[in-house]
């Protein structure tokens, strides 16, 4: 059995989110060094603010400025900051109830060590030098000995309020395709295409995933299929994909490789797009150094009769 393969896989996405009126006011406020909460119908002030009361679900719109100073309600010392966290040096995660608020905000506290942190300690906002209207406009909190800072009574109305934010995210994985797909990819590197036969229904699946979807049992018996095959169905692609170096229109087809009971899909080349047809016999074209066929082209054989592939449509 060949070694199971693995490769780095990075998933990155810049989530683009629209803001409601309360979130917009809060994040715009951070840009302007103003912290806003929202007042509930029973008179409590929620910071960070939400648009609906977590208890009654009533719509909330009354914005109220709170102080940039507050009290730590709980904390945790993070001696090994991770990527994306507010500080790169050891810090405390804190929930802070700002003066004037009834709920607590999660953020980081810059402190020399865990002995300098305790529940109940007084802290104040340290603003980021450059602010864009994001929770990270609060760079972190820092210890604060002085008096509570009095909030300015801002109404939450801003000249140029934010309407949306972009929150980038990145996660790193090491992807392993497992035994069956590793064997398939491994064979491809020797320009062979292998499927797996189901021990129960005897069908040959390609690419194999290690299970027969009909019988729900493991497949293990390897079967070499192709290299030639038959086009069972196809479509004509007219829209060019980003970063794709293929002229449109082109044909994408299902191809039943000889000996396989499931069609795989690939691009058809070497023939004008409007001449591709069901039953066309094709063969793979490998390019130098590629790990899988670049495309399939007509093999020159007569078309396959419909009866030979109708079960594979």
């Amino acid at each position: 059995m060949p070694e199971v393969l693995s490769a780095p896989l990075v998933v990155e996405f810049p989530f683009t989110r629209s803001l409601g009126p309360v979130q917009s006011a809060f994040l715009t406020g951070l840009r302007e060094r103003v912290v806003l909460g929202v007042r509930t119908t029973d008179g409590r002030t929620l910071v960070p603010p939400v648009e609906y009361d977590p208890v009654t679900a009533a719509e909330l719109r009354e914005l109220v400025e709170v102080a940039p100073t507050g009290t730590v309600t709980t904390w945790a010392w993070n001696h090994a900051p991770r990527r994306g966290q507010p500080l790169t040096t050891p810090f405390a995660w804190v929930l802070v109830r700002l003066d004037g608020a009834d709920t607590a905000l999660l953020h980081a506290l810059d402190a020399p060590g865990p002995d300098a942190v305790r529940t109940g300690m007084r802290v104040r906002v340290r603003w980021a030098a450059e602010r864009t209207g994001a929770i990270t406009d609060i760079a972190c909190f820092e210890p604060h000995d002085g008096e509570p800072v009095r909030p300015g009574g801002h109404t939450g109305a801003f000249e140029q309020p934010l309407t949306g934010i972009v929150t980038p995210a990145r996660l790193d994985y090491t992807y392993s395709p497992g035994r069956a797909q590793s064997a398939y990819i491994d064979a491809l590197s020797a320009r062979r295409i292998v499927g797996e036969r189901c021990p129960s229904c005897r069908k040959v699946y390609v690419p194999p995933r290690g299970a027969c979807p009909t019988c729900g049992v493991a497949t293990a018996e390897q079967v070499e299929v192709g290299p030639r095959g038959t086009v069972t169905t196809f479509c004509i692609v007219n829209i060019k994909a980003k970063n794709l170096d293929i002229e449109v229109p082109y044909v994408y087809a299902h191809i039943a490789l000889d000996g396989a009971d499931l069609a795989l899909h690939a691009r058809i080349g070497g023939i004008p797009y409007d001449r591709v047809r069901m039953g066309l016999r094709v063969e793979p074209v490998w390019t130098e150094g590629a790990r899988h066929p670049d495309h399939y082209r007509p093999s020159g054989e007569p078309d396959a009769p419909y009866e030979t592939y109708k079960e594979l449509l």
């Binding site: 803001l19 945790a76 010392w77 607590a104 729900g216």
Partner: protein
């Protein structure tokens, strides 16, 4: 949502349970390859074939897999051709079981297969779980799952509900119990270790691992045919709390208490409780919310501190509780599953065996 006072139209039981040996990494197998032996085992216990199953429901997470619609590939393992009646929750399999239970209550089908799986090994589960947080105010700060649990642990200590020694004892008891569990990942004597995020140490945190679980549900007489001593679901309920951590009292779990009340857990004492507490401090919260005293055997399997395949660990709790009823080790067991940071969402099921 049925307690004993408002019985459902039919009795539904867990009739079989199977799980993988949970391991740090299963990179040699794909999700479906990891899952299939468990599906075969749970079917073999009842003699059922995939074609006999009335409804299939699964739980998993694309963020763990790093791939969109990742659950569709796992469907190859249940024989989804010809077409089957199937559903999926992007949650722990315990919630898939809830959906299957509802389906059995409301539809003309007698059996349901529930499975879930999670591979934590391809990514960093601490980072992956940050993506379930509020995307406006919290996720941009990347507070990892241990950090959030540590905030809860400190709040518990400040409130006088526990201390570091008591937390260490929870971990030690869990791993000692896990020594008798052939499927557990971390068992026996495990050093309490250094702080991961203070006040939580390595020993307070779950192992990172891969695994899968499957449960078969059956209704009425069908359950009696398939299992010598079915684990009847007397009640099951799940509740959620506000997503903002600063709104919640982290030392309490009112959602767990309410779910337990609605599931009928407080009507008579239970003898066993399988609690889904990935962190030692969360067991402290759950014990208080569920009013469990020392007469209740808590996590005889070792719990999530011994094996925590994310998305399957909650279903494993229901399975372990049911298996104790099947074996006659328990007459009335409570099973709990959680999801989200600091016990945000909680599910409670009450399982009973027939009187002996």
């Amino acid at each position: 949502m049925t307690g004993r006072n408002t019985p459902g139209p039919r009795d539904i039981a867990v009739v079989a349970f199977a799980q993988t040996g949970h391991r740090r990494s299963t990179e040699d197998s794909s999700e479906v390859e990891m899952l299939m032996p468990v599906l075969h085992e749970v079917l073999a216990r009842t003699g059922l074939k995939t074609a006999d199953i009335g409804f299939t429901c699964s739980g998993s997470s694309d963020y763990l897999a790093g791939r969109a619609f990742s659950f569709t590939l796992a469907l190859d393992g249940v024989g989804a051709w010809p077409p089957i009646s199937e559903s999926h929750v992007e949650m722990d399999g315990a919630w898939a079981l809830y959906e299957a239970w509802t389906k059995l209550l409301t539809e003309d089908t007698d059996t349901a297969l529930v499975y879930s799986y999670g591979k934590c090994s391809p990514g960093s589960v601490r980072d992956v779980l940050t993506r379930q947080l509020d995307p406006y105010y919290v996720a941009p700060l990347w507070p990892d799952s241990v950090a959030l649990a540590a905030l809860q642990a400190q709040a518990l200590m400040d409130a006088g509900h526990t201390d570091e020694a008591a937390l260490a004892a929870v971990g030690a008891r869990s791993r000692a119990d896990a020594a008798a569990n052939p499927y557990a990942q971390l068992k026996g004597r495990v050093p309490q270790g250094d702080y991961v995020v203070r006040p939580l140490r390595t020993g307070d945190c779950p192992p990172v691992g891969d695994g899968a679980a499957a449960v078969l549900l059956a209704a009425g007489d069908r359950a009696r045919d398939l299992c010598e001593r079915p684990a009847w679901i007397r009640g099951i309920d799940h509740r959620v709390e506000a997503h903002s951590l600063g709104v919640r009292d982290l030392t309490d779990s009112p959602s767990t208490r309410l779910a337990a009340e609605r599931a009928g857990a407080f009507e008579r004492p239970v003898d066993t409780a399988e609690l889904h507490a990935p962190f030692s401090s969360q067991e402290v919260v759950l014990r208080r919310a569920l009013r469990l005293d020392d007469s209740v055997r808590v996590n005889p399997s070792g719990g999530a501190l011994a094996a925590n395949p994310v998305m399957a660990a909650g279903l494993v709790r229901i399975g372990e509780a049911a298996a104790r009823v099947h074996r006659g080790d328990s007459d009335r067991a409570l099973a709990h599953a959680t999801s989200g940071p600091c016990l945000q969402q909680n599910l409670v099921a009450v399982l009973e065996g027939d009187p002996r």
